[in-house]
């Protein structure tokens, strides 16, 4: 029995409230968890998994502005990670070495399909904004990566 219900029963025993009032108070108490569940459900809806990864690039290049707008479905990312796990070990080693030569110290064998859901969950709260400015302060490149 919870604390509130016990208080109501004590008030009833002390004659501070009538039976009807106590019944209504208990009924109101019972409704509370339902409204809490509704709130939780709305939280779940609000925190729905993102469907797309969007990459937007605006570049004020010397030969005119360049705008890139790419939307990649998360389903494709998931499949891509699975594809990475299918790469034969010999090829994976060569890939890791090649990526290391280009400054990307990344081990592809560490990318597992089990981790992708965690990664996507983290991505929904992530927005990456990169602004590169010219020496004179003029904006040159703007990159925005976010989930939607």
């Amino acid at each position: 029995m919870n604390e509130h219900r016990q208080q109501i029963l004590e008030m009833l025993a002390a004659g501070k409230v009538t039976t009807d009032e106590a019944e209504r108070l208990i009924a109101a108490l019972e409704k509370e968890p339902t409204s809490g569940a509704t709130a939780n459900a709305s939280d779940v809806v609000a925190k729905a998994k993102p469907k797309y990864l969007r990459v937007m690039v605006e570049d004020a290049g010397s030969e005119g502005p360049i705008n890139v707008n790419v939307r990649v479905p998360m389903q494709l990312l998931r499949a891509g990670v699975k594809l990475a796990s299918l790469i034969p070990p010999q090829a994976r080693d060569r890939l890791n070495v090649a990526m290391g030569e280009h400054g990307m110290m990344f081990d592809l064998s560490q990318v597992k399909p089990e981790n992708i859901e965690e990664l996507i969950d983290e991505l929904q709260d992530l927005t990456v904004d990169v602004d590169e400015n010219r020496a004179n302060g003029e904006k040159k490149t703007k990159v925005r990566v976010f989930c939607e």
């Binding site: 030969e63 707008n69 479905p73 990312l77 699975k82 299918l86």
Partner: protein, 86 residues
């Protein structure tokens, strides 16, 4: 669900507009017999490369299905290219 249609739009500096609607479902229909013919070869190649052929086919299917909703848009000066897969 695999993508069924795609749209490609190209606008050039000379204000030439070119848009094409690609019925991907026809492409899949045409590729289906080819895929069936290639299936034994895919199996052999997968086994030689020590890759589970069923996982490989499943992943290829997931990649194809995952293409739905892909949107790529590039604009430079007055030229723009748009690809949208439905």
């Amino acid at each position: 669900m695999i993508p069924l249609t795609a749209v490609v739009r190209i606008c050039t500096a000379r204000r030439h507009r070119f848009g094409i609607w690609l019925p991907l479902f026809l492409v899949w229909l045409l590729l289906l017999p080819v895929a069936l013919l290639l299936l034994p070869i895919i199996f052999v190649v997968c086994l030689v490369c020590s890759v589970n052929p069923f996982r490989a086919i499943s992943t290829a299917w997931q990649i194809t299905a995952g293409l739905s909703g892909t949107h790529v848009e590039v604009e430079h000066r007055q030229t723009s290219v748009l690809v949208h897969i439905y």
